[in-house]
Structure formats: C-alpha cells, structure tokens
C-alpha cells in the first residue's frame, strides 16, 4: 500500500481508538451510575419520573426484554403512521406525496431495527417531517435500544441482582450518550460546510442556461446521528457520496470516525461494567485485527483500475474511480466500505456495487461476521455469542468445564448462542437462495451473472446484519423484496438481543465460582487466538460457498477474459 493510504487508515482508525477510551469511561458513568449521590444518580431520578412507576422497579431479563419489545412496537407504529401520512403532515415544502404501503412497512421496519436499509431515496420520496420525525427520531431511539441492551447484558455478567430497568436505560443512552455526542459532531459538520435548512429545493439557472433543481434540507442534524448511531440510511439516496451530505475531506473523515466511535466505546463500557478491562482489551484487539485485515484487503483490491476501461486510452494508475468522489481521496472509498459494514452502519462513501469484485468481498465479510465492533451495543452483544462458543470449545479441547467470568457455561447457554449465530446464516443464505432462484429476485437485478448473485447476497446480508443496503443496485420498489427483507430485519434485530439476554438470565440462576489457576483465562493471547479462530471458522464455514458463487466467480470470470 502507498504511504498516503497507510497514513489515512492510521489517522481514521487511530483517532477513533483514541477517542473511544474516554468515551467508554463516560458511557460507563452515564449508563451504569453508582446507586446513590452524584449527577448521574440525579439523572436517574429524572428518568424514573418521565417513565413513571414502571421505571422505578428493578427488572429481570424477561421483564427487560418485554418492555424493550413493547417500546419498539410503539416506535414502529409511530414511525409507520408518520411515513404513511406524510402528505397530510407539515414541513413538506416540496410537496412529497404518499409512499407505497410495502415501502412504508420496509422503511419503518428498517429504521426500528437500526438497519436503515434504504429502499427509498430520501430526497425523492420523503418530506422533511418524515426524515426528522420518523427516521431521525428512530436513529436516536433504536441506537439507544442497542446500548441499553448491552448495559443490561453487562450488568447480568457482573453478577448484579438485576439487569436494570429498560425505560431508564433507554433514556440514559438517548439523552446522556447520543444527544450530547450528536450536538458536538453536528456542529463540527456545520463548520465543515454541511447544509441545515428547512427551505425546499433550490432552483438554479446553470452557466449554460439549463435549469437544475438542487434538493437540500436539514442534513447536518440528520447525518450526524445516522453515523453515530450506526444507523445508515442517508438523507439523500446516494448517502455520503452526495456532496451536500459530505462536502469535503474533513466532513468525510469525521463521518468515518463517528461510524466506528461508539461501537468501539461500547467494548470499553462493557469491560468497565463487568469489571474486566483486560478482557475488554483482548476482545477489542481481536475486533481490531479483523477490521484492519478487511481494510487492508479492500484498499489493496480497490487499487486495481476499472476493468471496463482496460483496452481504452484511459489512465490506469489511479485505481477504480467508478462510484467514488474525488474530494475524499483514493483510500476513503474502500476504507469506508469496511467500516460501515463492520459496524452495521451501512451509509456509503462510495458505491458498493461498483467496487472491484474482490473488494466487494470485504464489506460482505463484515456483515457475515457482524461483530467487528458491530452496531452500537449490539456489536458487542454479537461478540458475546462468539465468546460463549469459543469458551465452550476451548474448555472441551483441554477437558475443563467451560467458564466465562466465573459463570459455568453449559449446554443450555451454548445451544442458545449457536441458535442465534445459525439464525443469522439462515436469514442470509435462505433469503438469497429463494430470491436468486425465483423471479422475485432475478427480475430485480441491476447486473447479470455472478455480480447479479452478489447483489442478492449483499441485500440479504445487509438485511440480516442490520446494515443499510445503501444503493446497492438491486431494484428496491417491489413488494416481495420489501416485505421479506423487512421481516428479516425485524427478526435479525431482536433474536440476537433476546437470546444473549436469555443466556445471561440462565447464567444468573447459577452460583458464580471464583476464578482459580485452573480456570481458562479470558484476558490473554491464547484466548484471543481462540476467539479469532472461532469467528473465522464459524463465519467461513457458513458463508464461504456463497461468497465463491458471487464475487470470487466474478473476479475470475473477468481475470480470465
């Protein structure tokens, strides 16, 4: 890799790591304050007041999950209603009309589940009220749901009597974590030149005398929480490649850092709540190794020139520029593609459909593993599933009873963990199989051959990984696609939250043993290697065949040509 590329990656990832440490500390303070006294405890009082009587009780994991689901159902209904009724609602200067019913379902499901799969194009279909009241609002509360769930999981593992109270946690995450972060970052984005206006589209007369309509809107506020909450789903259809959504190199850098910042901080918050910072550092290290491996691969493969220009008098020394912006630099596109899919964000800084075939593998790997930092809160929860499996396999290999943080891991916990991991594979591969074999999928393709298969695979990967699809070529206004991916997003969102909490609930019924010299450690290099292998083997065995049929086949198809 050229030196500029290395410096760029180090700058982005390094800054995010440096900021994640103090943020993790702050998040521990905000999400899990000491029971009495202090500012955070006073906030707890306020949140209990907003929440009413039910917010004052300590919940067990089942009550926590049930209240979480009820809140999410209400989120879904409210956003569905706003989207379905947008033509009657205010803040609609460009007079956007009604949206198709299956698209409303898909969009509401998508943003409730923190996926933000975009089957609509923001500036074409949605009013400002829909963008802010339905989508931006969900970007706060769905991300907060993920952080709350992680806090509950960590409390259980720390051996507390209760996992906490969902209604208090979700307010802590919204008002104490996401809101202040969004205010700071959005102000910086404004200074970087991003628009924030409630005036409708600008009608301009170009230098050559043609009329151009330029959509704009309250972008800065929307974009910021989209990145921080690993939401994805841009204000504009083509997301952060749009010059009004990402005006220059520095807003681009800040966006990339924002994408990965809170997922990184979540690992430290987890470590602090369970009281095992060294263990958190090992997990962080494993995630970082996978992230950097994917970035290196993507940047390397993307430096190959656009294959379609091979025999034409066009310079071949600048890499593939199709679907990329000049102002972000050559390394940004592939780096962003990895960051956004690793964290289930899904906003794009370059068009993923136009990435070189092997580059395109890297974002898919990110969504298949779904735990290289992952979505806010839920990424660490997914990693917890891999940890359980790794601990179990390691224990079996050396013939000791598997333990995690002093909790005996037995068949019930492992069964639940495997169930959650298998569900992810089943949604992706099952959905891909059905849509690749029937007109539902094949009629919606934008490309043919292996690249067409990749489009379907990518679509279901992103739906199941709760990553925004973000302008992948697959046609998106069709009912079967809207309904199936919408359903998958909801299942794939809540199964990996509910099952891990069930595992913790099951652990909490046991007696916790003190760790001794005989216990397999979870904060050393051996465990790191074990965890890495588990992730790779589970991921590779599940998804390697499908990956071979898509991007790998396409690469060889044109390499031979």
């Amino acid at each position: 890799m050229p030196l500029t590329a290395i410096l760029f990656v180090v700058f982005i990832v390094g800054t995010a790591i440096a900021l994640s440490w103090p943020l993790g500390r702050y998040m521990r303070w905000a999400m899990d304050p000491a029971p009495a006294g202090g500012v955070a405890a006073r906030f707890t009082g306020a949140f209990q007041w907003t929440g009413g009587r039910i917010a004052r009780v300590q919940q067990d994991w089942k009550r926590y999950v049930v209240t979480m689901l009820i809140f999410n159902v209400v989120m879904f209904i409210v956003s569905f209603s706003i989207l379905a009724l947008q033509q009657y609602l205010p803040l609609n200067p460009d007079g956007k009309g009604a949206i198709d019913g299956s698209l409303v379902f898909n969009t509401a499901a998508s943003f409730t589940s923190n996926t933000n799969l975009q089957h609509y194009s923001g500036e074409v279909s949605l009013s400002y009220f829909s963008q802010l009241g339905a989508l931006m609002w969900l970007q706060f509360v769905s991300a907060a749901t993920g952080i709350a769930a992680l806090a509950a999981l960590a409390r259980g593992l720390a051996g507390r009597e209760s996992v906490g109270n969902f209604f208090v946690d979700v307010q802590r995450a919204t008002f104490l974590v996401l809101l202040p972060a969004a205010l700071v970052v959005a102000s910086l984005m404004l200074i970087g030149g991003m628009p924030m206006t409630f005036q409708g589209a600008a009608h301009v007369m170009t230098l050559e005398g043609a009329e151009q309509v330029i959509a704009r809107g309250p972008v800065a506020a929307f974009l910021t929480i989209k990145q921080l909450g690993t939401n994805g789903g841009g204000f504009f259809g083509p997301n952060s490649t749009h010059p009004l959504e990402n005006p220059n190199f520095w807003t681009n850098a800040l966006s990339m850092i924002s994408i990965v910042l809170i997922p990184m901080a979540c690992v430290w918050m987890f470590g602090r709540i369970v009281g095992r910072l060294r263990h958190a550092a090992v997990v962080f290290g494993v995630m970082l190794v996978l992230l950097l491996a994917k970035i290196t691969g993507a940047v390397y493969f993307e430096s190959a020139p656009t294959a379609a220009f091979a025999d034409l008098p066009i310079t071949q020394n600048v890499g593939n520029l199709e679907g990329k912006e000049m102002r972000f630099g050559a390394t940004s596109g592939p780096t962003w593609a990895v960051l956004t899919t690793s964290t289930s964000n899904g906003s794009v800084g370059a068009m993923h459909d136009s990435l070189n075939p092997l580059t395109g593998v890297m974002p898919m790997v990110g969504m298949w593993l779904n735990a290289t930092f992952g979505g806010v809160g839920v990424g660490m929860i997914n990693m917890f599933l891999y940890i359980i499996v790794a601990v179990f396999i390691a224990g079996m290999m050396v013939g000791r009873s598997p333990e995690y943080l002093g909790w005996r891991v037995e068949s019930r916990e492992v069964r639940l963990a495997i169930l959650a991991l298998v569900a992810h594979g089943l949604f992706i591969l099952g959905g891909t199989a059905i849509f690749a074999a029937t007109p539902w999928g094949t009629e919606a393709l934008n490309n043919t051959g292996p690249h067409g298969f990749s489009e379907v695979l990518y679509e279901f990967s992103s739906a199941s990984a709760n990553t925004d699809r973000a302008s992948r070529g697959w046609a998106t206004t069709r009912s079967p696609g809207n309904v199936s991916t919408g359903t998958i997003m909801l299942l794939a969102r809540f199964i990996p939250i509910i099952l891990p909490l069930a595992i913790v609930g099951s652990l909490m019924t046991k007696r916790r043993t003190a760790e001794s010299a005989g216990t397999l450690g979870v904060d050393d290099g051996t465990f790191a290697a074990m965890l890495l292998l588990t992730i790779l083997i589970v991921g590779a065995l599940t998804f390697f065949p499908a990956g071979t049929l898509g991007p790998v086949a396409e690469h060889f198809a044109y390499a031979v040509r």
């Binding site: 500029t4 760029f8 907003t50 929440g51 009413g52 009587r53 039910i54 009820i70 809140f71 209400v74 989120m75 931006m136 609002w137 919204t174 809101l179 102000s187 404004l190 030149g193 628009p195 924030m196 589209a201 600008a202 007369m205 170009t206 230098l207 043609a210 330029i214 959509a215 309250p218 800065a220 504009f236 259809g237 083509p238 997301n239 749009h242 009004l244 190199f249 656009t306 379609a308 220009f309 008098p313 066009i314 310079t315 600048v318 593939n320 520029l321 199709e322 679907g323 000049m326 050559a330 800084g349 068009m351 459909d353 136009s354 075939p357 490309n447 690249h451 070529g473 396409e554 198809a557």
Partner: protein, 187 residues
Amino acid sequence: MNALLTSCRLVIATMLICVAGYATVIWGVGHILTPWTAQGSLITASDGTVIGSRLVAQDFTEAKYFWPRPSAVDYDGAGAGGSNKSPASADLTVRAKEIVTKYGATADNPLPAELAAASGAGLDPHISVDAARYQAVRVAKARQLPLPEVQTIIDMHASSPGGFLTLGRLVNVLEINLALDRAKEAP
C-alpha cells in the same frame, strides 16, 4: 398496560428533545455560524440569479467550459445516484468509449480516469488538476485565450483536499468556469 403508557411518554419526551429540540439547536448554530453553507453553498450571479451550488456539479457541454465527470443521473440535483454497475460491466465500456471519442483521447494522450468514471452521487463538483489541464487546450482555443492564462486560472483554484492524507490536487469545475467567464468580462 403500564409499559405501553410509559412507552408513549418516552415517545413524546424523545420526540420533543431529540427531534424538535436537537434540530432547532443545530439549525440555529448553522444559521449563526455558517449561514452560507447551511443554505447549500449557493452561488449568486451579479444580477441576483442563483447559478448553482458550489458543491453540486452541473452539466457543461460547450467547448469553452471545463467539463465535469460523467453523471449516471444526468446531474439531477433532486434525484442523485451512481451507475451501480460492476467495474467489469460492458455498459461501462460502452459509456467510456463515447467519452473517449468526445475528448479525442489517444493512447499517447490518455484520458484521466475520473473523466470516464461516474461518481457515487453523479454530482461530484471536482476534477483533478490533471483532468483540468487535459481540457485546457480545448478551452483556450474556444475562448481565443492564450493557453498560459487558462492554466493560471487552473493553478489559482487548485487545492489539496486532505493535505498529506490525499494524493494530488483538485479544482472545482464550476469555480474555474466562473473564473473564466469573469476573466473575459474584466478587460
């Protein structure tokens, strides 16, 4: 039932603070700190008509103007998008051939790659300095200007987007085209 009621209370609280409150604060910050860019970086001509956004590419086809990168959506500022084609797609080869003919590129004088590749949103306002120099001869000829004068305008507007973190320097197509028009008016 309690949980449902509480959920509704939280919906109201989060809507008020995170949507109404947050959006108003950010709107206010933009209004005060960066009023021009907050409105979309619109450029106004001396007669008061808005001629475009500094950030959004517009179509240029006349020989006397620098041409931007191709756009998969025909520079539609209200419906942006990329080609979403595989980089190995035959459609891209067809498109690139037309562009090569348009610029008259030859093997000895190959076309800078971004002039053949559409951007993600189809609205990329920039081209590289190389791509601008590539067009300088045509522009100078069409305007009957000496070539060095056109090249000076390119150099004056060139900047590096990310310092040492990016390679090469870029120019904003609309800006250099405006500068060309103004240079003509000046004397």
